[in-house]
């Protein structure tokens, strides 16, 4: 019984065009420079370091390929079909992450790293198309029920900006009034007291996210706090 190789990969999401009109959900891919699938686009990933845990490896992937810091990071799924790689057997533990759109300038200038529109991806290596599809579903699902655009925005933002994030990710319009009430009622966001000036309309209130929920949240640990402090969950 041969031990399969273990790899950690990351699906990284960002919104290109933050605070402008048309934001598109995008993700970075890396071009494979060796067999198998040489020349094909694939998810960033690699082996697990000796001293790092799985989430740290995913965060390292993210920094190495994009130069950005993850604002949200969560385990997605472990993929282990025997035939998912033509050569060695590889079990991939996949994370998904959100990074801020405004930091796009910081992206490395690397011809083998490129951002793609999430709805217009090239052919991907291995089973990475399935993985991305699943990650997209999870992102949209999580955004809907957890009412929180965790990582796409700056520390301070208006509710209209937050709403536009939701609209871009979910690809449908949301009622501004109802959105405001829902988000405010959720308590996940608090007004800073300051307003954004310089618009040609009534200056909007600035908000920030409420509890600095740890950047990296390994679900099981999240659960422990939810059990300890009922009401925080849901």
């Amino acid at each position: 019984m041969t031990q399969p190789d273990l790899a950690v990969s990351t699906v990284i999401f960002a919104l290109r065009g933050t605070s402008s009109e048309n934001m598109v959900l995008s993700l970075p891919l890396v071009r494979r420079i060796r067999s198998p699938f040489e020349g094909t686009w694939a998810l960033p990933g690699g082996p697990l370091g000796d001293e790092e845990d799985l989430a740290q490896a995913a965060g390292r992937n993210l920094r190495d390929t994009t130069g950005l810091e993850p604002r949200y990071l969560e385990q997605l799924y472990a993929f282990g079909q025997p035939d998912r790689s033509p050569d060695n057997r590889v079990v991939s533990i996949v994370y998904w992450a959100l990074v801020g759109g405004d930091e796009f300038a910081a992206t490395f200038d690397d011809e083998n790293v490129q951002w793609f529109d999430a709805d217009d991806l090239p052919t991907l290596a291995f089973d990475h198309a399935l993985i991305v599809e699943y990650a997209l579903w999870r992102l949209r699902n999580k955004l809907e029920y957890s009412r929180l655009a965790h990582g796409f925005l700056e520390p301070t933002f208006t509710l209209a900006q937050l709403r536009k994030v939701y609209e871009a990710v979910l690809k449908r319009r949301l009622d501004p009034g109802n959105f405001r009430r829902t988000v405010e009622a959720s308590g996940q966001v608090v007004p800073t007291g300051e307003r954004l000036a310089g618009t040609n309309h009534r200056p909007p209130q600035l908000y920030r996210f409420n509890t600095a929920q740890g950047l990296i949240d390994p679900d099981p640990l999240t659960i422990r706090t939810a059990l300890t402090h009922p009401g925080v969950a849901s």
Copy 2:
């Protein structure tokens, strides 16, 4: 950079005392017969076979330790903290499963395998206490929003039996009338047309689960069908 060992473990749930009054949620543990944690109870698990995928390995664990067939099987989480095993580094991909309570007689007679009340577990090896806690949370959570006691019941059952499963797992009483309506409206259950005789009250309708949803459902594949046939998800 050393490759960590890869293991697959399974949290197996069953209800002891099905169709009687007090059902308790239970799970089987195996006593470790080697270092580390020799003599301590732990989750069943082991290495991944060359030809099997992750879910198959979890199912094999389940059959080998309990002699039962899984009725529901789902990936839980991958645990990979560097220090979770004192010797070699081990990354564990953990599944959780449901098995039928009436099949309890079939359990192997093995002094190193024993069923425990889920709310009264012994000290567990490694980080298995955390894993079980998380699996319990997932089970209860999933039961609440997916309104389906997937694997605890026989192919045909009354709504009262189904309700008692929910009550035993969620540890709270459910209104019989409302439960009936919710479950019937969900469409996940259909009446067989037959009734259960021999009770000292009005004979209840027998039901069975609706679509034979695959026994093993690797989430990403579930998503694919949900995307193809909208409305199946929810």
